[in-house]
């Protein structure tokens, strides 16, 4: 369970940092009148939707951290046999990076008001994300063709489970992305479009990060890394 505890430590650190800016030492029984004069409107100046997405991403991060924890605990048992990763995963990783870059370009263009670049970026991101999903299916098919079936070994089970879970999240993101794309053509208000493009970009970067972490996990590098950490600590 160490992975999830480290993840929670990060969350606690962030929450602590945020709380430390919230005047928790205030003595509200002595303060009458409007404190708002000093610190302006309550809440953050960030758009509410961004904060909402941030909280959601923390939950998603928690989910994958827990899968990772379970992975390591199951890995320690004797019947574990790592499976060879299909080469297509490298290609998929490249495509997903491309998708993220395209959305970042779209976000920058939206800030500058270049609607054509926004449209181009959104479509590129959508297509590359689809390509990623197809690539993942190809990887699954290669593995099953080579006899690495879901139930044959826990390493296989985890591979399908975790990549599947990540794919589902990409699929959900595509729903949001297609709505944003439709908005880019239907002439949504510029500030509204800008916000939704930025939200998509944020989600995409996060899922890219999750994918890189999963990739390292499934390839076995994460285990090596943790082993090194453990040796340093003991």
């Amino acid at each position: 369970m160490s992975v999830i505890l480290v993840f929670l430590l990060v969350i606690v650190g962030f929450a602590g940092w945020w709380l430390s800016h919230q005047r928790l030492m205030a003595k509200p029984w002595l303060e009458q009148g409007l404190i708002g004069d000093i610190i302006g409107p309550e809440g953050s100046t960030l758009p509410t939707a961004k904060i909402g997405l941030g909280v959601f991403l923390a939950v998603v991060g928690c989910l994958f951290a827990l899968f990772t924890s379970a992975y390591f605990m199951r890995m320690a048992l004797s019947d574990w046999q790592a499976l060879p990763l299909p080469r297509v995963l490298w290609f998929n990783t490249g495509v997903l990076v491309l998708s993220s870059v395209a959305l970042q370009c779209a976000a920058v263009a939206a800030r500058r008001g270049q609607i054509d670049t926004v449209r181009l970026g959104l479509v590129t991101a959508g297509l590359t994300a689809l390509a990623f999903l197809i690539g993942q299916l190809v990887a699954w098919r290669e593995l099953t063709a080579d006899g690495y079936l879901l139930t044959a070994n826990p390493a296989n089970s985890f591979f399908y489970l975790i990549t599947g879970m990540h794919g589902l999240h990409i699929l959900g993101g595509l729903v949001g992305l297609s709505r944003t794309t439709a908005g880019a053509w239907d002439g949504a208000r510029p500030e509204r479009l800008r916000l939704s493009v930025e939200l998509c970009a944020m989600y995409w970067h996060f899922l890219l990060f999750v994918w890189l972490a999963i990739f390292a996990l499934l390839a076995g590098w994460a285990a090596t890394f943790i082993e090194i950490c453990r040796q340093l600590l003991t």
């Binding site: 009458q32 009148g33 309550e42 379970a70 605990m73 879901l150």
Partner: protein, 589 residues
Amino acid sequence: MVDITPADAVPPAEVAEMELYHPHSWWTKYVFSQDAKVIAIQYSATATAIGLVALVLSWLMRLQLGFPGTFDFITPEAYYQFITMHGMIMVIYLLTALFLGGFGNYLIPLMVGARDMVFPYVNMLSYWIYLLAVLVLVSSFFAPGGPTGAGWTLYPPQAIMTGTPGGQDWGIMLMLISLILFIIGFTMGGLNYVVTVLQGRTRGMTLMRLPLTVWGIFTATVMALLAFPALFVACVMMLFDRALGTSFFMPAIVEMGEQLQHGGGSPILFQHLFWFFGHPEVYIVALPAFGIVSDLISTHARKNIFGYRMMVWAIVGIGALSFVVWAHHMYVSGMHPYFGFFFATTTLIIAVPTAIKVYNWVLTLWRGDIHLTIPMLFALAFIVTFVNGGLTGLFLGNVVVDVPLSDTMFVVAHFHMVMGVAPILVIFGAIYHWYPKVTGRMLNEAMGQFHFWVTFLGAYLIFFPMHYIGLMGVPRRYNELTDMTVMTESAQHLNSFISIMALMVGFAQMVFLFNLIWSIRHGREAGGNPWRATTLEWQTPQTPPAHGNFGKELPIVYRWAYDYSVPGAKEDFIPQNMPGSFGSSRGPA
């Protein structure tokens, strides 16, 4: 002694007005409503309905235990199914849904001075997915083989094997799917509760001016958002094991002389995941109760809450600590003794912030102008019950005491006291307190008194003897105890007594439900602020609050939520949105 500060000259709210969705038809107004208040009532009604099912299940269990052999239809399989469904419904579908979905939805926007939740559409979806989860759960009663009988912890491998009711039928599948749906729905609602507290607060409502109810619900929601994924992961992996034949949790097993295809899995892995959710869940239920009870006590004792800052810190501290105590549910799983020592230590440390809260409640009562209204009675009952349940928790938190006791009725009595009876008492108190705001009418006092005394005394008559027979060694999870040496004649008499008490307490709940319905029409008119309370929900222009909560302009907050009996003020309470500074003993505004 009133000197109006320049605060009066403040321009109207600078908080951006949210775009409210205005319903156009009866359907969008009352059924597929995006108004948090309607969603709250939908959540509460659904949770109460499914809670009634769990109540009836507990009667059936008690009938079997108290009068073994009398009821033929309660077979061992049926008994396990009753236990499982009773536990799961009460903990997740009733308590979690009612505190966060019900009270959270109703109170957060009103108490922080918002027009609605920040994402109303997602909020609506949250309820409908919750309803779907409940329906899937209920459908398992009618599925072939009946609901699962795996115990509410659903431990593998037995949960998905032939010997367990529903293990190889539909029961366990429907349970897992229902839980997965619940978690998805809850995450949608939870995002709303958290972000509304962060972003929806009206002008002047700093975090340290929030009523403790909001602090409790807010912290509990953050915890739930981080804890429920663990249950989600456990459910998905078990679903894979059951439906697709993987071996995440399933070790090599011979069943009925046949080697199953599973092998090598770890049931302990499931326990870790389950309790990583399961222990925070205790506080997900307890923290909203802590918050609500603080407000009830302060309002009905006409006195500011003692140690507000410490109460806030304690809530946050308990929330954080509750993530590092989970393995105290697993002392008997054969784990490393040092591991147990660590978790025993963290478990006992959590008693410190909890005790701070109890002291502060008592000190709030000290020399207060205590009004023994029904909400206050329930709040007082909560304090004693929580202390009682908490003390036996200190016993069970120690490994050497837990090991012999962990399979006895003592544990059942402990957790029912601390996370069953105590939060339910707060729920009752909160309903008596806020019912006038929701409906505009008071609940009937006489029926309320009857409900309170029967519930309170009855709960003690149920669970005190249960501690005792647990110490005698009577095990839990057995549907028939008559042949055991520990089950002496006197112990069996106690058992029958407990069962009769359980039936009576259950009957009192029927009176309560009747009161809820009867008072909508016949209750005394309440007016806008019957308890003369300070928080914003009592200051709405209409009662019940209309769509958008606060009429034309959002309230501006000038003070904390606990200005009761301020020396020099005209009345013994000053609403949060009243400008000006009062009293000589206080600092300048």
